[in-house]
């Protein structure tokens, strides 16, 4: 008796191995998928035939106990079979029964008349009924379908216990995470192959730009440039995407009613005074009106009034919307009216009330951002104080900012229009018109503390973002 197991990556290979071992009379006893591929148990037809011959002989040899009127014939045969089974590692007869039982069980489980483990060789299928799968001598058709899909369908066809929704969600999350990791690794690998790109990535991140923006820019960088040209290209892209009023009118020249909004402590009052000073210096003190809505902060009105005295401008205080409307009517003949608002945190529930207060026709909001703030803080401020129209912004405290990258990054990603920057406490001297080229170049020249500077090998960690976060790339013209 010769029964062998053949394992291979595919069913076709395993069957080929079986045929090589047993020739044309190969008889497949079982065919099941394993961890490494497919396992086929096969034997030769002669082996079964020999077993069939041995069975009656075994029965007749044990006939004396039968003739002695002992146990019935069937029971004696099974005893013989059991005896054989005890002696042999695998009794053929019991194995035949085993195979038959397995086949029947599978048919019951799948509810199909044919076994799903049958190899996909339609011409070779034996559809005569239950029994071991037989493969005819005909060679396998060259265009036979690979059995791998069938083998894979076997476990799928077998009814799996229903997974809980939590497990499904976990699997999806793992899948997304793996995809993102592979994408990032692929990009990083590509970046490492291009040292210029890798170096620029490092420089941009050191300058404070977000990994999202850095990657979005560098992905579009032409590869045929040298390091100097690449750097220039990156600077040009940043300048082009940082909107300013450089080619238009400045705030005093444009005139109108402006409300300065923003979080606490960003410098709204001082910025208001600077703008008032610029307008007074150019058009006279009578051309500018000052209003403060800040009734929360102690000394807010006094501070603006003090600046106003320096400039020869009266600083009014409005407690509510009717008072503000009344004052705007009073100051309607001014070239520019500036409204200083109370600083509120982006998550402060009073923010809505403050924004509604300045929601009047003709009043344009300018968001004041502290240029030294962390990028995520700036992102939150921009999102919290967003307006339906194009958002204007002023960078304050640029003299105190270690890096300008985060502020420029936010302005680019959110398509903000930069109207100016402040760089000190002096009113109105410490004000500069927004110049994209200067700002971008300054940002790339900044050097922070070595403690916080990332190394090239740390770049991986900048891209290991949680799956649940989806960074807004914004619109970028690169």
């Amino acid at each position: 008796m010769n029964i062998q197991r053949f394992t291979a990556a595919t069913s076709r290979e395993a069957l080929s191995k079986a045929r090589m071992a047993f020739g044309d009379s190969t008889l497949i006893l079982s065919n099941r998928p394993t961890e490494n591929g497919v396992e086929v148990v096969a034997t030769a037809e002669e082996t079964l035939a020999a077993l069939d011959q041995n069975e009656p002989q075994a029965t007749s040899r044990k006939g004396s106990p039968l003739s002695q009127g002992g146990a019935p014939l069937g029971g004696h045969a099974s005893t013989k079979v059991e005896d054989d089974a005890d002696q042999l590692a695998m009794s053929t007869l019991s194995f035949q029964d085993y195979v038959r039982e397995r086949m029947a069980k599978r048919r019951q489980e799948t509810g199909t008349p044919s076994s799903p483990t049958r190899p996909t060789h339609p011409a070779a299928l034996d559809t005569r009924g239950p029994g071991p799968i037989r493969i005819k001598a005909d060679p396998l058709p060259s265009k036979a379908k690979p059995s791998a899909p069938v083998q894979r369908s076997a476990p799928a066809a077998i009814a799996q216990p229903a997974m809980s929704q939590g497990i499904v969600d976990e699997l999806h999350a793992m899948k997304e995470m793996m995809e993102e990791r592979f994408n990032t690794l692929a990009w990083l690998g590509q970046a490492r192959q291009n040292p210029i790109q890798s170096n620029l990535m490092l420089r941009m991140i050191r300058a404070g730009y977000s990994p999202t923006l850095s990657r979005a820019i560098l992905e579009k960088m032409p590869t045929e440039m040298d390091s100097t040209e690449s750097m220039r290209w990156v600077l040009d892209v940043l300048e082009r995407n940082l909107k300013t009023d450089q080619e238009g009118l400045s705030i005093p020249q444009e005139g109108g009613i402006f409300a300065l909004i923003g979080a606490t402590g960003v410098g709204k009052t001082t910025t208001t005074a600077k703008l008032a000073g610029l307008c007074a210096d150019e058009y006279g003190p009578a051309s500018v009106g000052l209003i403060t809505l800040d009734t929360y902060r102690v000394g807010a009105h006094e501070q603006l009034r003090a600046y106003g005295k320096m400039l020869g401008v009266v600083a009014h205080l409005a407690h509510d919307r009717p008072a503000l409307q009344d004052l705007l009517g009073l100051l309607s003949n001014k070239k520019m009216v500036l409204i200083d608002t109370a600083g509120v945190a982006p998550r402060d529930p009073r923010k809505r009330d403050m924004l509604d207060l300045v929601d009047l026709p003709g009043v344009r909001r300018i968001l004041v951002l502290n240029a030294g703030s962390h990028g995520e803080t700036l992102d939150e401020s921009v999102a919290a104080f967003k307006t339906p129209t194009a958002q204007q912004v002023i960078f304050s405290k640029t003299d105190e900012a270690v890096k300008l990258g985060p502020a420029i990054d936010v302005a680019i990603r959110h398509q903000l229009t930069l109207r100016g920057v402040t760089n000190g406490q002096r009113v109105p001297e410490d004000w500069e018109a927004a110049n994209a080229a200067n700002l971008v170049r300054t940002s790339m020249r900044t050097t922070g503390s070595a403690v916080y500077e990332p190394k090239a090998g740390d770049l991986n960690f900048y891209f290991n973002e949680p799956v649940s976060q989806h960074a807004s790339k914004g619109r970028l013209n690169a």
């Binding site: 005139g255 000073g277 007074a280 210096d281 150019e282 058009y283 006279g284 003190p285 009578a286 051309s287 009106g289 006094e302 009034r305 003090a306 005295k309 320096m310 400039l311 020869g312 009266v314 600083a315 009014h316 205080l317 409005a318 407690h319 509510d320 008072a323 009344d326 004052l327 009073l330 100051l331 003949n333 001014k334 070239k335």
Partner: protein
């Protein structure tokens, strides 16, 4: 209003057209006759004071001059960021305010006999070209008095003089907004239309052109 300005850190000097100057009580007349580096009593940034100015204002009227002509003298009356208030009858004040951007304040009195005087004052103000008086409506607690005096005056001005009048209403203390807030708003509003004392008069309401103001104006 003077106290409110003082609370807002504006040193206040009042030229009282109802008080007469004398040798013992010098005022505007002496200032005009004898240029002084400091006003009588010296400069005091923390208080508001009253200077008699009846003879001085009459002298200006007689000479056909206006406050514009004595701006330099008035600058010496108050500190750098101070405020000069001219308190006088309408028939004296109106001619003195010509060629200025000052908005004179008229208080609407609820006394029946005062209504006519208020209307006359408004009429005199409006007879000066470019002068836009501001009518103050103060709360009336006496039911015997006419409560809608300001509205009546505004209607009369509109109907008979064909001139719309600006009215500022001060709410009583028991209403929603505190009285101090209204007074502060009024004081700042009056200051908004004040004439800066810079030695060089700024142009009338802005027309959008650049004038090259140069030195920043400091006081009102």
């Amino acid at each position: 209003m003077c106290q409110t300005w003082a609370d807002l850190d504006y040193p206040v000097t009042v030229l009282d057209g109802g008080a007469f100057e004398s040798a013992d009580n010098p005022g505007l007349e002496q200032i005009l006759e004898f240029p002084m580096s400091q006003p009588p009593g010296g400069l005091d940034e923390s208080t508001w004071r009253v200077i008699p100015a009846a003879h001085g204002l009459k002298g200006l009227l007689s000479a056909g001059r206006s406050l514009v002509d004595i701006e330099g003298r008035l600058t010496a009356l108050c500190p750098e960021d101070g405020v000069v208030i001219v308190y006088a009858q309408a028939e004296m004040l109106a001619p003195l305010l010509r060629n200025t951007r000052v908005q004179p304040v008229v208080v609407a009195s609820s006394e029946p006999n005062a209504l006519l005087a208020c209307y006359l004052a408004l009429k005199r103000m409006l007879s000066v070209p470019g002068l836009e008086p501001l009518l103050i409506d103060i709360p009336c607690n006496n039911p015997a008095l006419h409560p809608g005096a300001a509205q009546t005056l505004a209607d009369c001005t509109q109907n008979y003089l064909n001139h719309p009048l600006q009215v500022a209403r001060l709410r009583a203390a028991h209403e929603d907004a505190p009285a101090a807030a209204d007074m502060q708003r009024l004081a700042l509003r009056v200051l908004e239309s004040a004439q800066p004392l810079s030695g060089r008069w700024p142009p009338m309401p802005h027309n959008g052109t650049k004038i090259g103001a140069g030195q920043i104006n400091r006081s009102h």
